[in-house]
């Protein structure tokens, strides 16, 4: 059987220290996927609308999550699930059933949903049946949809930027990349997390606290009609601490810190995490005492992590190739290829093949994307000029090849997504000098103060045409820096907002100490792990808007066990609240 001819097409350069390549042992799951794929495509070979491409993918997910709060273990979840995804194409690569439909027909979108598979291979017929059933269902859907696609060609106007629906690529052949087993000392972690949450909750102002460990092992099996037979995946571990308090004005303030690693054994130890907890309590106290900021327009210094996330939201989502095809998208960069969009000292690329940067494991590392394409470095901007897009196998004008960025979570069609986004500066200044440069800009603009953004919790961006093509990056720790030399002042309740092309042109300097932001990114193809690596960036002008805030008063009674002096003060009705 062809599918059994396993060979290794991947060079060792592709492999991280955390994975090893090996010939696949007997793999009944891969066998049944390949067998059923071969059988069904053979049966459909003479059908009027025979599929020209089919892939079958299984994601075997094991998940451990331990959470502690108030000094005790709150959850200890272990789940094991398998999900099936079938991508089936009818028509031709130039025009197939996946083509975006416009108008009313657009209601007939890809509604594959999550298809659960047995988590065990015996009896294998249970899996075989489910695979057949899904192949059949997807074929029936595709056969109906291609009719709509063809019809639309004669009814609707020409597309603005027509492009084929699917690109060719060399088959990755067969490869197996062993994913390490999910091994966690849950008892030891439970003790550590409980102690951490105890430390966090010692502060009587704290109304919510969590110390959490999550480890997810995704093992992906992928076969397609082009001869791919892949077994690969990821192991991601995260430890995180969070604590929240309610400010007298109802603002719910949260401090959060996390670290991601490819091996739970690489996560920080108890002592280091205890240090985090102490610092976080101090941060929370500072935020509680901080005033809410006012709307602002002026210079801002972004820390490396904040800059990474800023680029992810503002730049990264706009260079996802598939967005250049949709008639509903804003296509910020579609006509910017070769044009300068960033400061000339900035280079941006996305490289999922990198597993670590600056001593930190990268969340966005993978070997193959969810279309079975090998991960590749994709150049996005060079010396400030925009040069390319993140590509799946959905071509766009001028970019007809995948660069291994077709990603999804189970149950959704893959689209081009970020992996590890690197922002690099060819010219840097010492990071320690950036504060002074910030103040210089503040004075030049005649402002009383500027801002340093230390931490952001994520954000969102709108890339469509109907809504403003704007971004909102949610700051969680920012400091007001006064031009007259007053002490720095923490401020809360502001978000960075703006439009992308303007924001990028305002980057004026980069520090020399890049940092890593690890996270999970949600978009139309689900949640995928991502990283952004960037140096601190000084921006000449950014706008801040007031963040939404909670409307509930702090708890009426003090926390149980809190004494009158150490606990939260009772808030009297009819006042604006206040703690003592």
């Amino acid at each position: 059987m062809t599918a059994r001819l396993r060979s290794l097409l991947l060079g060792t350069a592709l492999l991280s220290a955390h994975a090893s390549v090996a010939r696949a042992a007997d793999d009944p799951l891969a066998d049944v996927l390949a067998d059923e794929l071969a059988r069904t495509t053979a049966l459909l070979a003479d059908a009027p609308d025979a599929p020209y491409y089919v892939s079958v993918a299984v994601t075997d997910q094991q998940f451990v999550k331990i959470e502690a709060e108030w000094g005790t273990v709150a959850t200890d979840d272990r789940t094991h699930q398998r999900w099936l995804d079938v991508d089936l194409r009818i028509g031709t690569p130039e025009l197939d059933n996946t083509h975006t439909l416009r108008g009313m027909s657009g209601l007939d979108d890809d509604d594959r949903g999550r298809v659960a598979l047995p988590i065990e291979d015996d009896p294998i017929d249970a899996t075989r049946y489910a695979v057949w059933s899904e192949l059949d269902r997807r074929y029936r859907q595709a056969a109906e949809r291609i009719v709509l696609v063809r019809s639309e060609r004669s009814v609707k106007v020409e597309e603005e930027r027509p492009a084929p629906d699917f690109s060719s690529r060399p088959s990755p052949g067969a490869a197996t990349i062993v994913v390490p087993p999910l091994e966690v000392d849950t008892a030891a972690w439970s003790r550590v997390l409980a102690q951490l949450s105890q430390t966090l909750s010692d502060d009587p102002a704290v109304t919510d606290n969590t110390a959490s460990l999550s480890v997810q092992r995704d093992e992906r099996t992928f076969v397609d009609t082009e001869g791919a037979r892949l077994a690969h995946g990821t192991l991601l571990a995260r430890v995180s601490l969070s604590a929240s308090a309610v400010a007298p004005d109802g603002d719910i303030l949260t401090v959060y810190r996390s670290l991601d690693a490819h091996d739970p054994r690489s996560l920080p130890g108890a002592d280091e995490l205890a240090g985090w907890a102490v610092v976080m309590k101090q941060d929370l106290a500072r935020q509680l005492a901080a005033p809410r900021g006012e709307p602002y327009r002026g210079p801002v210094l972004l820390s490396g992590r904040a800059a990474g996330e800023f680029f992810h939201e503002v730049f990264g989502h706009r260079v996802e190739g598939h967005r250049q095809k949709s008639e509903d998208e804003g296509r910020t960069f579609a006509d910017q290829v070769g044009q300068q969009v960033l400061a000339p000292f900035l280079n941006v690329y996305d490289d999922p093949t990198q597993s670590r940067a600056y001593g930190v494991d990268l969340n966005g590392h993978y070997h193959f994307d969810d279309e079975g394409s090998p991960a590749q470095r994709a150049e996005l901007a060079t010396r400030g000029d925009f040069v390319g897009f993140l590509m799946s196998r959905s071509p766009i004008p001028g970019f007809d090849q995948t660069n291994g960025h077709g990603r999804r979570s189970p149950g959704l069609p893959p689209v081009s997504r970020m992996g590890n986004t690197f922002v690099e500066a060819s010219t840097t200044v010492p990071t320690s000098s950036l504060r002074g440069k910030l103040l210089d800009l503040v004075r030049q603009q005649g402002l009383p103060y500027g801002y340093i953004v230390e931490e952001i919790e994520g954000g969102f961006t709108m890339t469509g045409r109907v809504t403003p093509n704007a971004f909102n990056v949610r700051a969680t720790a920012l400091t007001r820096v006064w031009a007259d030399g007053r002490p720095d002042e923490p401020v809360r309740g502001l978000d960075l907002v703006g439009t992308p092309l303007v924001a990028f042109r305002n980057i004026v300097a980069a520090g020399d100490t890049p940092e890593v932001f690890n996270g999970f990114c949600g978009a139309e193809s689900g949640w995928v792990p991502v990283s952004a690596v960037a140096p601190p960036l000084l921006v000449r002008e950014v706008e801040f808007q007031i963040k939404e805030k909670g409307q509930e008063r702090p708890p009426i009674l003090p926390r149980p066990g809190a004494d009158a002096d150490g606990g939260q003060a009772r808030v009297d009705a009819g006042t604006n609240g206040g703690a003592r």
């Binding site: 709060e69 065990e120 291979d121 009896p123 017929d125 049946y129 489910a130 509930e552 708890p555 009426i556």
Partner: protein, 569 residues
């Protein structure tokens, strides 16, 4: 996990458990301290502490799809401000002083108290706001029955069961699902098992301390079969007992599951109903019990429906039964009794309801007329006191609900006589046969795999009033029986029960009632187990119409050959 520690402690001294003491201390602190300016006084506070171990198993065609075995702790709170005569409850919307939250699986007194503090604070603020909304929109009439009945404390400590071994349940799920996977026409051959054991503590500001047992094991075997015209047929078998040891032998469940799949496959082969049918219908067994479940039960549950909250989006109000004491709900001579201890080994059997009130045997209907609906401590015009039937989910409003219902006709006739009577009636409609329905499809099973929130599984069934039959049998005067599939009820209303012509032998079974009346449950083991005994009934006139087939759903790709031979042999 607190089950074991709690059980051991309570066995020795039922009312002095450290966690419950901690909860009681927090209740006391909240009762004395929670005030806000001009807000109405907090007059009643109740907590539900839920402490169970849960096992969930799902298997398909002989292989495990999901399995979990976890402790689950949770807290529910009910805050009442104002007075029993007029408080924040019984008004539409959802931020009404009732709330719930999960609790740490390793419970400590501190974590329990802190979570209780936060939850109560939130619920209290909601209650105060809800009270204001109610005052602003609702002018209580003089005969307004009020919202609550103060009864004094209830002190109860029932024995608490412990969770069973998951291994036999996993094996059962595998084997029973394998037995149903006859061939590719069986689209789903799945078994869902839910098992939970533990306790539910109820404590309140009147001094109630009630420890109530939670013991439920539900096995649901589910089959979907695709008929040649694409019509989807579904069926299920439900076993609902207290503990895994109370289940029938595994071989029996496996054989029953397999027989169900075989029967449904046979149904798929017969011709569908091709024209509407109007005439008498004999409901037997499961179908008869379901008839009373859907049409009678909502008329017996007496907690008043919420007063609508008028918002810019329209009225917000919980759906509820249309209950009126003195209304005829069944033919003359019929009686309805809810006796929560009638089947004492069934998980629906309770000696105290979820408010800690001793359950009562209630003669709900006498001579076919509703006399005493099932009540919680929420009064209504005619009945001010609870009769011990409060049930509901954690954080839900507790309502008077059915527990163990017996529907008794004026007299039982033999099946033979029912059929003879039915045929005679059918002839009056020009039919040479009587239609017999033996099982209705289960909405939670019909909807499996579908993102459908439409009542009874599809728009064409939305106005049916009853879910579609699994199959029907045409019964002829010469004794011949002919299976028919593909029918749906049309416009069934509650007064159909008054058209019952005759009753046959009774049978008992279980259904899973939704904690929220007015909606169906969405998983095969979800809901509150409810025991019902009811007779077969011949109804004088029912309308059935053909259900639409779905040829688009028929496979285009032939199914794979099973590697281990056809399981149907």
């Amino acid at each position: 996990m607190i089950t074991l520690a709690l059980s051991a402690a309570l066995a020795a001294e039922p009312t002095s458990d450290p966690y419950v003491d901690a909860l009681a201390a927090e209740l006391s602190r909240q009762m004395s301290g929670l005030t806000l300016g001009e807000a109405p006084p907090l007059y009643h506070l109740r907590y539900h502490l839920f402490d169970v171990d849960q096992i969930d198993v799902e298997a398909s065609r002989g292989a495990l799809v999901r399995h979990s075995s976890d402790p689950y702790n949770a807290l529910g709170v009910e805050v009442r401000v104002g007075s029993p005569e007029f408080d924040n409850t019984g008004f539409g919307g959802w931020q009404d002083g009732l709330d719930a939250t999960g609790l740490p699986i390793v419970l400590t007194e501190r974590s329990l108290q802190v979570r209780t503090w936060l939850l109560t604070d939130r619920a209290y603020k909601s209650a105060v706001e809800q009270y204001a909304r109610k005052v602003s929109q609702f002018d209580a009439p003089e005969d307004y029955p009020g919202n609550f009945t103060l009864t004094g404390p209830s002190i109860v400590a029932r024995a608490v069961p412990t969770v069973g071994d998951p291994a036999p349940l996993v094996a059962l799920a595998r084997d029973a699902s394998a037995a149903m996977a006859l061939d590719a026409t069986v689209e789903r051959a799945e078994v869902y098992i839910g098992h939970e054991a533990g306790s539910r503590w109820v404590i309140d500001s009147e001094g109630t301390r009630a420890r109530l047992p939670i013991a439920e094991t539900s096995v649901s075997s589910v089959v979907h079969v695709r008929a040649p015209d694409g019509q989807l047929l579904t069926d299920r078998r439900l076993w609902c007992v207290r503990g895994p040891g109370d289940l029938p032998p595994a071989d029996e469940i496996i054989a029953d599951s397999r027989a169900m799949a075989q029967d449904l496959r046979a149904v798929a082969e017969v011709a569908p109903l091709d024209d509407e049918y109007v005439g008498p219908v004999l409901f037997q067994g499961d179908a008869a019990r379901d008839l009373f479940r859907y049409l009678l039960v909502p008329q017996l549950e007496g907690t008043p429906t919420d007063i609508p909250f008028d918002t810019m989006f329209g009225d917000l109000a919980a759906s509820g039964g249309d209950v009126r004491v003195g209304r005829r709900v069944l033919p003359e001579g019929w009686s309805v009794v809810d006796d929560p201890t009638r089947a004492p080994d069934h998980p629906s059997s309770m000696t105290e309801d979820l408010e800690g009130t001793p359950t009562q045997v209630v003669a709900v209907a006498i001579d076919g007329v509703l006399t005493e609906p099932l009540m919680s401590r929420v009064p209504r015009d005619e009945i001010k006191a609870s009769n011990g039937h409060a049930r509901g989910g954690l954080g839900d409003r507790l309502r008077g609900r059915v527990m163990q219902l017996t529907v008794e006709p004026d007299r039982h006739r033999s099946e033979k006589k029912l059929i003879r009577t039915g045929l005679r009636l059918a002839a009056q409609y020009g039919n040479d046969h009587l239609l017999v329905v033996r099982a209705l499809q289960e909405p939670a099973v019909m909807d499996l795999g579908e993102a459908s929130f439409i009542l009874f599984g599809g728009s064409s069934d939305a106005d049916a009033g009853l879910p579609p039959p699994v199959a029907m049998w045409r019964v002829y005067a010469d004794g011949r029986e002919e299976i028919v599939r593909g029918a749906a009820f049309a416009g069934v209303q509650r007064w159909l029960l008054r058209d019952i012509v005759a009753a046959g032998p009774s049978s008992a079974g279980t259904f899973m009632a939704s904690p929220d009346p007015g909606r169906n449950t969405y998983s095969p083991t979800e809901g509150m187990p409810t025991w019902i005994s009811a007779p077969d009934v011949l109804v004088g006139e029912v309308e059935l119409i053909p259900r639409q087939a779905d040829p688009r759903a028929l496979p285009l790709i032939p199914a794979p050959e099973p590697a281990r031979g056809d399981a149907s042999d």
